[in-house]
């Protein structure tokens, strides 16, 4: 089957003024490659500041004016240009954002979901989208401030499925939900995938990512350091030392901390950004650019994955 989205060597940098007229390029995402297949939920996991939300913004062409994008993004086999994104977003490419602040506070739910359309078909679609997430027709007549947190979340889901999307991008969609509500929401994403969409699920929560995603791409300092199957985590088949460190830091696991912190964008000029914290660094880790390579049915950006020398 043809992949829905192919991201090839995507890099994003920001153009900034430092002091006076001194300018610099600040790389925030480096050499990102990721392929999304229909029917699959792909988790994007990273700590804050690792660049994972920027990926969502790049896919929706919402990057700020001082940013530069390099690399290729293909949507259903064709390049995803700014022009094309504008036609597709909100219909075939949709975003499920963090919370209620993404709704227009001065507009009732119904008109907001219809996005300006007034015909009977659109009204019918609103009704069925709301019903799908257990909201009554009366919900269409409410303003966002009248919704509870869980209801607002369901309205955002309903808004995303108005036009049977092919690519669903969810950016931290669960904060503030209790475990039961969160697992119901995760079920909705699995359901959309089962209907043939590709789902990109962005989160900093490892347990959540493992609960919903088939595959997980791990971000560190703007780079994808590993792409693993969700089952690789509990089965001890992780490839990159940072992914292993995340797994080992779970309170129900080893609860072990590695020292140090993620470097700021632009701080690491060369070599592996994880080098300063790596438990088993080796020759060559501090030089050149490391690339993401296939390893043990996954991908890894490390010269010594799982502590071994790469063949």
């Amino acid at each position: 089957m043809e992949p829905i989205l192919e991201i090839q060597h995507l890099s994003i940098s920001f153009h900034q003024y430092e002091k006076g007229f001194v300018q610099r390029e600040l790389p925030v995402i480096r050499d990102l490659s990721l392929t999304l297949e229909p029917g699959e939920v792909t988790g994007v996991l990273g700590v804050s500041g690792s660049g994972k939300s920027l990926l969502a913004h790049a896919l929706l062409d919402l990057l700020p004016y001082n940013s530069r994008r390099e690399g290729t993004i293909l949507f259903q086999g064709e390049p995803l240009t700014s022009q094309r994104i504008r036609k597709l977003r909100g219909k075939e490419i949709v975003l499920v954002p963090q919370g209620v602040t993404y709704l227009d506070p001065l507009m009732k739910v119904g008109p907001q979901l219809r996005k300006g359309r007034r015909d009977r078909g659109a009204r019918e679609k609103v009704r069925s989208a709301l019903a799908r997430y257990g909201l009554k027709e009366a919900a269409a007549d409410l303003y966002p401030f009248q919704l509870s947190g869980g209801m607002a979340r369901r309205v955002l889901m309903a808004s995303a499925v108005m036009d049977s999307p092919r690519l669903v991008i969810a950016d931290e969609p669960t904060p503030g939900l209790d475990a039961k509500a969160a697992s119901r929401l995760l079920g909705h994403f699995r359901e959309l995938a089962a209907e043939g969409a590709a789902v990109l699920f962005i989160t900093h929560d490892l347990e959540l990512a493992l609960a919903v995603a088939h595959r997980v791409a791990v971000f560190y300092a703007g780079e994808t350091v590993e792409i693993a199957r969700a089952s690789d985590f509990p089965e001890g088949r992780l490839r990159h030392p940072f992914t292993q460190a995340l797994w080992d830091a779970l309170p129900q696991g080893a609860f072990r901390a590695i020292p140090g912190a993620q470097p700021y964008s632009g701080e690491v000029k060369e070599g592996c950004p994880f080098l300063a914290r790596c438990p088993h660094p080796g020759n060559g880790c501090g030089q050149g650019e490391l690339s993401l390579v296939p390893w043990n049915e996954g991908m890894v950006r490390c010269l010594y994955p799982h502590g071994e020398v790469m063949a």
Binding site: L246, P251, A257, P259
Partner: protein
């Protein structure tokens, strides 16, 4: 040493009571996990024990004697969920630290607080870095009990493990009593010596 909340009843304004005759006790060296669904008054209970609010009925007792009103550095300190909201945005972090007296250099080192951060402002550091300052500020020499209200809820796993690794060692060394509020059962199971839950 024992910190006790006895028959504590509290309501905000004219609202319904958030807490109704709640009893809680915490001894030195103990780490008690406090669990309850949202809106059941976990944070309010911490605020009462730390003296930010006064109970309508009931008392906060230290060694059997009423703790408040209290003069001087309070032996009960609280660390909050959102560090960016409890540090003055217009003060360099070093100045915020000194609110509870001169900072202990050894403590700063253990918390991996870099010297140059002391001159920075809260907006320039990440949540995990700010939370380290809040811990350093709360762990003044007079502190005997630390109330931790979801202190790692917004931090990533590795930073969470770093902070608890430090805090558990420090609590052990100084025989502090810890009250740990969290939604995460695995975290409470891991760090606490016993758990309690707030019922309706």
């Amino acid at each position: 040493m024992t910190l006790e909340g006895k028959d504590i009843t509290f309501a905000y304004g004219k609202g319904a009571p958030v807490l109704d005759r709640v009893n809680i006790s915490l001894s030195s060296g103990e780490r008690v996990g406090l669990w309850a669904p949202s809106g059941r008054g976990k944070t309010t209970l911490c605020r009462l024990l730390a003296g930010y609010e006064r109970p309508r009925k009931g008392q906060v007792l230290l060694e059997g004697r009423p703790l408040f009103p209290h003069e001087g550095p309070c032996p009960v300190q609280m660390v909050w969920q959102h560090p960016e909201t409890v540090l003055d945005p217009l003060l360099p972090l070093g100045r915020s630290l000194e609110e509870t007296g001169p900072a202990d250099p050894g403590l700063l080192e253990q918390l991996h607080i870099r010297k140059e951060w002391l001159r920075r402002f809260p907006g320039e550091l990440s949540g995990g870095e700010l939370q380290r300052f809040c811990l350093a500020r709360a762990l003044q020499p007079a502190t005997r009990f630390l109330l931790c209200d979801e202190i790692t809820a917004m931090l990533d796993l590795v930073t969470q493990a770093q902070i608890w690794d430090f805090l558990l060692r420090e609590a052990e060394r100084r025989s502090l009593g810890l009250l740990v509020v969290s939604h995460s059962q695995p975290l409470l199971d891991r760090v606490c010596t016993r758990k309690i839950s707030l019922k309706e």
